[in-house]
Symmetry: C2
Subunit: 331 residues, 2 copies
């Protein structure tokens, strides 16, 4: 059981770090000073790492329940950070992990979550370089919050402002499955829907080798509509999407019907939208389809400043970003 003394910075904290946390992370160093140093921070030798840019990202993970179909808060922390780095064109290199734990938290549960972090970080060759452990009194934090920071390297940084008129817009698979899976767990529903929570690092590296990628974005909070609206605003383009082209699984559709949610607002944790030169979109689509058969070209960038969805009868509506909240703490 985790006690306040594990967060006091004294011997108990050191024991927790050395015996419970460190052994679960196999990659703990990037060309200099990492987790084993247990120092005030970590350090990376710039020249040995290469790359013109260091790319940074950070996110806190508060998802409840901690374990869900297709993932857990530990996996989410790693893939969340890895995906943000990946869509910026960076190779994920390292992470720092800040754990904020409720007093009384089960040590076995913490170990399972740390194992999941270790396994997922290792898959992508990501080092856990450091972090921080705080324990809050019972009732002062809900079980566990993980705040994660990621570092990557890139020779070229891809931003949300890169979409060009004429670009094809491709999505890597069915949307909304992460948030739908969380709804299912919380409401105790009977559904086979599984979170799409997964690393995009490898598939993004492959896509980048094709060339012609102008922007990428992983779909998280706010879902597809938020991502497309951000692109439209920052790139100064309109986006014309085909409603029936956007892949939404049968399970996600039925959950949305019951709760009155729009699937385009539901969060994913392993889907990416790509804006690319139309001459490259077939190659990119084929790479994405190897990972997920549902990948599809869903629209085009046009002149203008709005995200428009057309249905098969020719009707058009403007897709606005989420206002308010559908379901809290899905990530």
């Amino acid at each position: 059981m985790i006690t306040l003394s594990h967060g006091a910075g004294g011997k108990a904290t050191q024991d927790l770090i050395k015996k419970t946390i460190m052994p679960r992370f196999r990659i703990r160093n990037v060309n200099f000073l990492g987790l084993d140093g247990l120092d005030d921070g970590s350090a990376v030798n710039v020249k040995k790492v290469g790359g013109k840019f260091f790319v940074f990202t950070s996110d806190s993970y508060t998802v409840k329940p901690l374990f869900f179909k297709g993932g857990d808060i530990g996996k989410l922390s790693v893939v969340g950070v890895v995906n943000d780095l990946s869509v910026m064109g960076a190779k994920p290199l390292a992470m720092h992990l800040n754990l904020i734990i409720e007093e009384g938290f089960d040590t076995g549960l913490l170990e399972r979550i740390l194992d999941s972090i270790g396994k997922n970080a290792e898959k992508d060759g990501v080092a856990i370089l450091g972090g921080d452990t705080k324990v809050m009194e019972r009732g002062k934090v809900d079980q566990l919050v993980i705040s994660a920071f990621g570092v990557g390297v890139a020779d070229k940084v891809i931003t949300d402002a890169g979409v060009k008129v004429g670009d094809d817009i491709i999505v890597s698979g069915g949307v909304g499955e992460h948030e739908a899976a969380i709804i299912v767990e919380r409401e105790g529903l009977n559904s086979t829907v599984k979170s799409d929570c997964a690393s995009l690092s490898r598939v993004v590296q492959k896509i980048l080798r094709v060339g012609g990628v102008h922007a990428m974005k992983d779909l998280t909070r706010g879902g597809l509509s938020m991502a497309l609206n951000e692109w439209s605003e920052k790139s100064g383009v309109g986006l014309e999407m085909g409603e029936e082209k956007i892949p939404v699984s049968r399970q996600v559709r039925s959950i949305c019907r019951v709760y009155g949610f729009d699937p385009f607002n539901l969060a994913c944790e392993g889907r990416v939208v790509v804006a690319c030169d139309p001459g490259k979109s077939e190659k990119i689509l084929n790479i994405l389809k190897r990972g997920n058969a549902g990948a599809a070209v869903i629209g085009k960038a046009v002149k203008g400043g709005e995200v428009v969805i057309r249905n098969r009868f020719g009707g058009r509506k403007i897709l606005r970003p989420l206002e308010g909240v559908m379901l809290p703490r899905i990530c």
Copy 2:
């Protein structure tokens, strides 16, 4: 008032970031892509920044009360990260800030904390490059937790393993004042003690120019005893300290007497211990004294593996790291 929709990743989140958070941070960029990009992360051009090493550190701040004599959770987040980077020999460059806010949190209070972050970051020339905002339901987190990530650059990294036999050990001022100030706030005591919470960046840069610095450590959780024990273990040296040489203010002493605390276990947030070549210690001491008259040489590194405190009668005791917890959530 902060609502769940501010953490949903949609329009309300964007508004909070653009209208409330961003304008409070004046430095938002380091040679490429920063906070204004509102992208999936930030990016720094390695060549333009210079330095052989990128240094990283991360910490979460859970202190209660949020405001205390000498500081607040916002100031603490900045100086905590800045100090960790500084003692590793790095010039602090940038931060990412993850806010975890309780639903219903007062917006005015959040603004005061953000102003404090902005002001303190600006003082040290530190950019706020990015971050994340989550809102947890009422009762699921205690007011506000800030998780901060810092990036610095260094040509030479200073580690805890650098202390050499024969080194002088210097402390930059009276110990334990931060934790004592938190005790005073929480218990409603009548005391003038003020947190030592302050940036060490400038003074550390000056000390490094003197040369002969083998190790530095800011005293945080676990206080002086934890720091000295870490040095002893990692550097494989003994440390002989003079009890009466270690500066402890009258106010800290009286608080420790009342609660039965050892001042050497109390946290600071703006004090540094320096292990240096004895030939350089006078110069270094003089620099530190300009900032705080209490700075003093408090001991020496010797052969062996223990931290020993000698009192003026010649008695010696071993100074062990804190076991258990004195006061939770002091930082």
